[in-house]
């Protein structure tokens, strides 16, 4: 887990990590979200509609942006404020995603950073892009 403080951040700071999409993730997300649409549970249904097989939910992959902010950039001292996400290509069980984020703007007066993020699969295809705003946690008196 990274522990960037606001003062450590600079324009262009980039982090990345990999994630493998598993069947367990898909099954868990169906339960978590309640989205058991046949698109995500019925192979024949998915293939009939142009997919190679069952695609995972876009929002499942979006969870990795949460990891990007909470674990990598800023990490322990950061928290998510806003996400704008586009799902640009299907993602399937077995895919290996590289998730990366780059600091593109620093709002110094209010300690907020803007991150341009993306996910690329093992074939180099862009499967998701996002604009993320994150803040920094500060110690306060325990309530």
């Amino acid at each position: 887990m990274n522990t960037f403080h606001f003062e450590d951040i600079y324009l262009g700071l980039t982090v990345s990590f990999d994630a493998v999409i598993t069947q367990a993730m898909l099954d868990s997300f169906v339960l978590l979200s309640g989205d058991n649409s046949p698109l995500h549970t019925d192979d024949h249904f998915a293939r009939e509609r142009g997919f190679l097989t069952i695609p995972v939910h876009g929002m499942l992959t979006a969870a990795f942006y949460s990891q990007l902010i909470g674990i990598h950039l800023p990490g322990k001292n950061g928290y998510s404020q806003e996400y704008k996400i586009a799902f640009t290509a299907p993602v399937y069980v077995g895919d290996v995603l590289t998730i990366s984020g780059e600091v593109e703007y620093i709002n110094a007066v209010l300690k907020q950073i803007w991150i341009s993020a993306k996910m690329i699969n093992q074939a180099g295809k862009l499967v998701s892009r996002a604009k993320i705003k994150a803040g920094f946690l500060e110690l306060t008196a325990v309530r």
Binding site: E82, V109, L110, Q112, K133
Partner: protein, 81 residues
């Protein structure tokens, strides 16, 4: 830069932040009468306006930005020192 141009560019920022292409700003507009002007969008506004005009606010300045008119006045003060 004229106030008219500042207002026009600020309006574009407000439209982007509030995701409303029809939004027309005025000096008296504030968090009390513009939906979704919450604390997060206030932070987003500060950042977006700084970036749009290539200026930097001080903490004591942003604390008094209670309506659009004050935003405009401060932007003009920053870009026309």
């Amino acid at each position: 830069m004229s106030r008219e141009i500042v207002v026009k560019r600020t309006q574009a920022v407000f439209r982007e932040i509030f995701d409303d292409e029809q939004l027309v700003i005025n000096d008296s507009m504030s968090a009390s009468n513009l939906a979704n002007w919450d604390s997060l969008n206030h932070i987003n506004l500060i950042g977006a306006i700084q970036r749009e005009f290539n200026i930097k606010f001080e903490l004591n300045e942003v604390q008094h930005l209670t309506n659009v008119g004050r935003f405009i006045d401060l932007i003009i003060k920053k870009i026309n020192p």
